[in-house]
Every structure is written in structure tokens, then in C-alpha cells.
């Protein structure tokens, strides 16, 4: 680098740029947090949905599936599974319930979690709530996720 561009100038760009854009990020975050009230489907976060989310977490479902495109890529996207399963929580529950304990020979299979009826309902309600989140361009692109 040429001598006209000094170390002091580089340092000022670092401090100035770093602090400035950190503040911008904080500002945009404040704005985002207020705006998402119209998209995040919060009116449907019931106690059951919260319980379902906790079950989603403590069984590490995201270790195989993606949810709104984030997580693992080993098993199908689940943010729109409610729609894919014909808008039926019963179908979701039936699927989870019927996984064979020892898997399917030669194929990827989902573990049998032995959920209670109440837990199944909570999980299904959680997935229904996620399906109701309004994403830009209605992502996922189609029903297959």
C-alpha cells in the first residue's frame, strides 16, 4: 500500500466503520422487532404451542430437519409440513406416532420418540403455528419445502 494511506487512517476507518455499523445494526434490530408483530403469527402462540416448541428443542428435531430453511438437511423442511399434510394436525401426529422403533432397513428413518398424546398435540400445534408465519415471497418456494 502507498505511503499516502497511513496506518492512522486505516485505524480510523476500522473504529469509525465498526462503531457506525454496529449502531446501524442495533437501530435496524429495534425496527425489526417492532415490525414483525404483523408477520410472526404471535397471536397463535398458545401455551400448547410453547410446549410444542420446547419439545421440538429437547428432542433436537432440528438436528435432522430444517425449519424455515435452517437446521439440518437430512430430512424434509417442516415449516410448511402442516400445509403439505393437508392442513391436518392428525396427519402430523399419526406420522410421528407410527415411526418404527428399529428404523427402516437401508433407509433414513425418524426415531420413535414415544410421545404421549398430549405431547403429540403440542408438537402438531407448534408446527401449525410455524406454518402460519408470514415469510417474504411466501417462502418455502413450494409445498415440497
Amino acid at each position: 500500500m502507498r505511503e499516502t494511506f497511513t496506518k492512522g487512517m486505516a485505524r480510523n476507518i476500522y473504529y469509525g466503520g465498526g462503531v457506525f455499523f454496529l449502531l446501524v445494526l442495533i437501530g435496524l434490530t429495534a425496527d425489526t422487532v417492532t415490525r414483525i408483530s404483523t408477520t410472526d403469527n404471535r397471536e397463535n402462540i398458545t401455551e400448547q404451542v410453547s410446549a410444542g416448541k420446547r419439545l421440538w428443542e429437547i428432542n433436537d428435531c432440528v438436528g435432522c430437519h430444517s425449519l424455515l430453511g435452517e437446521g439440518a438437511y437430512f430430512a424434509p423442511e417442516l415449516a410448511n409440513v402442516y400445509t403439505r399434510f393437508g392442513k391436518s394436525t392428525e396427519a402430523i401426529k399419526g406420522f410421528i406416532k407410527s415411526r418404527p422403533k428399529d428404523g427402516i432397513p437401508g433407509r433414513r428413518s425418524m426415531p420413535q420418540f414415544n410421545f404421549t398424546e398430549e405431547e403429540l398435540e403440542a408438537l402438531a400445534q407448534f408446527l401449525k403455528y410455524v406454518d402460519g408465519i408470514k415469510t417474504a415471497r411466501n417462502w418455502p418456494p413450494n409445498i415440497q419445502g
Binding site: 496506518k7 465498526g18 445494526l25 435496524l28 404451542v49 415469510t135
Partner: protein, 466 residues
């Protein structure tokens, strides 16, 4: 080695390499499960293998960063480490917490682990990369705080250099952003938004500061170039990292229910995120070209140059590939994401830690550089790992394209599992590349034990000593 306490780095590096081996073994298990779904089922379900793989990665990189700091900071600061005993104590606490967490994943079902560790009191488990039980997360915070105190005091009571100040800023940022791991709201949009404050602001923010300062340090040591020159580069690289990377976080806010303006902001700012990586490459090649000494540790120079190039490819090129919103609409959460994740983590953070180890380990073992045979083997392992990782990336990229085409692009998209079956051959090729990577790693470990003659030092005309 100028100061006794620098040698604490050695135990950190040994632990890092040990956990690295574990990480790759579980990577190979998952690669197998991708082609043969019932492999080790139900004993090791995919999600468990994945937690082990990614958590080991993060933990060993943290060991690597800490070891690097313990090695570099005393020398730069011109004094012994503030509290060597604390560094040793924290090593054992961190190792115990790490190993117990991994054993927990493997020995009991995850839900049981959540119950035993009383996740209900402060639920933080079950999010990607942040699966550790809450108590383990608290352990990480304690270890990192003790570590920051230790090197912070060493820096502040000693000579302050640009390298140590940048490193310290990066490490403080690492600690601060980790705190978002404790915020897990029921509202999924908020949950996802702030989850990225750990993941993105780590790898595309503060970790870049750590990476750039470590690279700058090793390059000064092995090339003998003027500190002034290096410092100017360092400032401008990290300036660009923050200017692009902070708002660049927006490339993760396209499809999670956040406002539409993120599609513009995220695309534009993340599109300039490759710049710091381009500059790191220019910087590394420039200082090596203008070197004022021939350091006998040739392989350390190779690692340093390799880091810059592979980070540019993995983060810069493969990141850019899917960072614009109209492209990301199709590629979000596909094998393309995994392709990028692998090469970026490897090229930037794995390789910078291996660079530090390569430079410092021989010195801690009493020599300026490893012997001729050891360097040959290490060079071989460099190429095996780098090339096989490039192949993994290419195969996953092909897998991603196939997936996007059949599952997202065509008019009558096919179901996920149907598309996965079409990709089987490519997944086999990925697994084979993974086994070559493992071979490279085995040779790498073996190189530390190889015997041979010392490298003969060639002194350049204008060489400076030490």
C-alpha cells in the same frame, strides 16, 4: 520461545487436535448415514452424530484460539502470562465440560440429557450449534471470562501491540455475542433473528478479527517483514470485515418473517463480505513475496498462505454464490449451504488454528522448526486435507444444484426424499473424499512423531535475526 508461560499453549493445542479427530470420525459416520440411512440406527441417530460433529468443531476451535492467545500474547506483550495457574485450571475445566457434554449426547437420549441437566430452569438446548446443556453453556462463559481476564491483564500491563489489541477485541466480541445463546423466546421469528447474533456475528464478524490477527502474527514471524506494514493491512482488513459483516447479517433474515428491507440490505452488504478475504490473500502473498528472511519452518508458511486462499474460496466465493436474495430463495437450506459451511469453516478457522500450531509447536518442543521428514509429512497432510475438502465442497455443490432443480425449480417439484435418492452417487463421492480427509488428518498427527534431520537454515542477505 521467549517466555516460559507461552508453553501453556501446548496442552490447548493437543486437546484441540484430539477433538478434531473426533469431529471427523463423526463426520464420516454422517456421510455414511447419507448413503445408507440405517447405518448405526437407532444407536447413533443422525441428529446425535451431527451435534457431536459440530460441537466438537466449535469446542476444538475455541481450544485453538485460546492456545494461540496464550502463546502469542506473552511474547507480544513482553511479559509472562498474568496468571499461568488460571490458564491451566481453565484448561481442565473446559476439557471436562466439553467431554462430558459429548458423552451426554452419546450415552443418553437428548431429552433425558435435558431433564438431567434441568433445562427447564433456563431452556437453551436444542438449537443448531448451541445444543449444549445450559450448565455447559454457563461453564463456557466462566472459562471464557477467566481466559479474557488472564490475557486482558497480560496485554494491559504489558506492551500493547496492534495485533494483541485486535485479538482482544475479537475475543471480547466472541464472549459478548455468545450471550445471545441464552435468549430463547417462544416466538420463532425472534428466536431465529437473535440466534444469528451468535452464529453469523461470530464467523463473519468477531472471529475474522481473531483470524486476521493470528495470521498477521505468524506472517511477521516467518517473513520478518516490517510491523508497520502488517499493522496497516490488519486494520484495513478488519475494518472491511465489520463494515460488510455487521449489516451482512441480513442475508439470514430473508425468509424468516423479518421485514422485506433485509433482502436489499442483506444482499448488498453481504455481497461485499468477500473483500476482507480478498485482502487477506493479497496481504499474505505480498508479505511472503517481500520476506526478509527464509524461515526454516516452510510448512508454517504454506499453512498461512493456504488459510488465506481457502478462506477466500470457502467464505468469499462459496458465500457469495448464494448470498443474493433472488438466488438464496432457491438455495436456502440445501446441500449448497452445507458445501459453503464446510469450506468456509475449514479454510478460515480450522486452517488458521493449524497455522498457529504449525508455527508454534516446534518452538515449544525446543526447535525453531520441525525436522525435514516431519515437515514433509505435514506438507502431505496439508494437501490431502485441503484437496479432499475441496472435493467435499464440489460434490455438495453438485448435490445442492440437483436438489434445487428437482425440489424447488421445476413446475412439478418432487418430494424431498425422492430427490435425495437421486443424489446417492454424489453422496458416495462425498463420503470417499471424507475418508481421504481422515487419512490426511492421521498423517498430520503422525507427523508430530516423525524423526529426521534438522532443516538447514539459509540466511538471506538482508536477514534480521530471531
Amino acid at each position: 520461545m521467549k517466555y516460559e508461560s507461552q508453553s501453556i499453549a501446548k496442552m490447548y493445542f493437543i486437546a484441540a487436535i484430539g477433538l478434531f479427530i473426533g469431529q471427523i470420525l463423526f463426520g464420516a459416520i454422517m456421510g455414511m448415514q447419507y448413503v445408507s440411512g440405517d447405518f448405526l440406527f437407532p444407536e447413533i441417530p443422525f441428529n446425535v452424530a451431527r451435534m457431536v460433529h459440530t460441537n466438537l468443531l466449535i469446542v476444538w476451535l475455541l481450544f485453538g484460539f485460546m492456545g494461540s492467545a496464550y502463546y502469542l500474547v506473552p511474547e507480544e506483550s513482553g511479559r509472562e502470562l498474568y496468571a499461568p495457574w488460571l490458564a491451566k485450571l481453565m484448561f481442565w475445566i473446559f476439557l471436562a465440560a466439553g467431554v462430558l457434554t459429548i458423552l451426554g449426547y452419546l450415552l443418553v437420549p437428548y431429552a433425558t440429557l435435558a431433564e438431567i441437566t434441568m433445562n427447564d430452569l433456563l431452556p437453551t438446548m436444542g438449537r443448531e450449534f448451541l445444543e449444549q446443556p445450559t450448565i455447559a453453556k454457563i461453564g463456557i462463559v466462566i472459562v471464557v471470562l477467566a481466559f479474557l481476564y488472564n490475557i486482558g491483564m497480560t496485554i494491559l500491563t504489558g506492551r500493547k501491540t496492534v495485533i494483541t489489541l485486535v485479538l482482544l477485541t475479537g475475543l471480547v466480541g466472541l464472549a459478548v455475542f455468545f450471550l445471545f445463546a441464552f435468549y430463547v423466546p417462544d416466538n420463532l421469528v425472534l428466536d431465529k433473528y437473535f440466534w444469528w447474533f451468535v452464529v453469523h456475528l461470530w464467523v463473519e464478524g468477531v472471529w475474522e478479527l481473531i483470524m486476521a490477527s493470528l495470521l498477521a502474527y505468524v506472517l511477521i514471524k516467518v517473513t520478518g517483514v516490517d510491523r508497520e506494514v502488517v499493522e496497516k493491512w490488519l486494520y484495513i482488513i478488519i475494518a472491511m470485515a465489520l463494515i460488510s459483516g455487521l449489516i451482512g447479517t441480513g442475508h439470514h433474515f430473508f425468509w424468516i418473517g423479518a421485514p422485506d428491507y433485509w433482502q436489499w440490505l442483506g444482499s448488498v452488504f453481504s455481497a461485499i463480505e468477500p473483500i476482507p478475504f480478498v485482502m487477506m490473500t493479497l496481504f499474505a502473498f505480498n508479505v511472503v513475496k517481500n520476506r526478509r528472511r527464509e524461515h526454516p519452518n516452510k510448512v508454517a508458511v504454506l499453512w498461512a498462505l493456504g488459510t488465506a486462499v481457502m478462506a477466500l474460496l470457502g467464505a468469499g466465493v462459496w458465500g457469495f454464490l448464494h448470498t443474493l436474495a433472488p438466488v438464496n430463495y432457491y438455495t436456502h437450506g440445501t446441500q449448497l449451504t452445507a458445501a459453503h459451511g464446510h469450506m468456509a469453516f475449514f479454510g478460515a478457522y480450522v486452517m488458521v488454528v493449524l497455522t498457529m500450531i504449525s508455527y508454534s509447536m516446534p518452538i515449544m518442543r525446543g526447535k525453531k522448526a520441525a525436522n525435514v521428514n516431519a515437515q514433509k509429512l505435514e506438507t502431505l497432510s496439508f494437501w490431502l486435507m485441503t484437496i479432499s475438502m475441496s472435493f467435499i465442497t464440489v460434490f455438495l455443490t453438485i448435490a445442492g444444484f440437483i436438489q434445487v432443480y428437482w425440489q424447488r425449480y421445476i413446475d412439478n417439484p418432487l418430494p424431498f426424499m425422492v430427490v435425495q435418492d437421486k443424489i446417492e452417487t454424489v453422496y458416495w463421492l462425498r463420503e470417499i473424499s471424507g475418508l481421504v480427509f481422515l487419512l490426511g488428518l492421521i498423517i498430520y498427527v503422525y507427523s508430530f512423531f516423525a524423526k529426521g534431520e534438522d532443516v538447514v537454515e539459509v540466511v538471506k542477505d538482508n536477514a534480521v535475526t530471531s
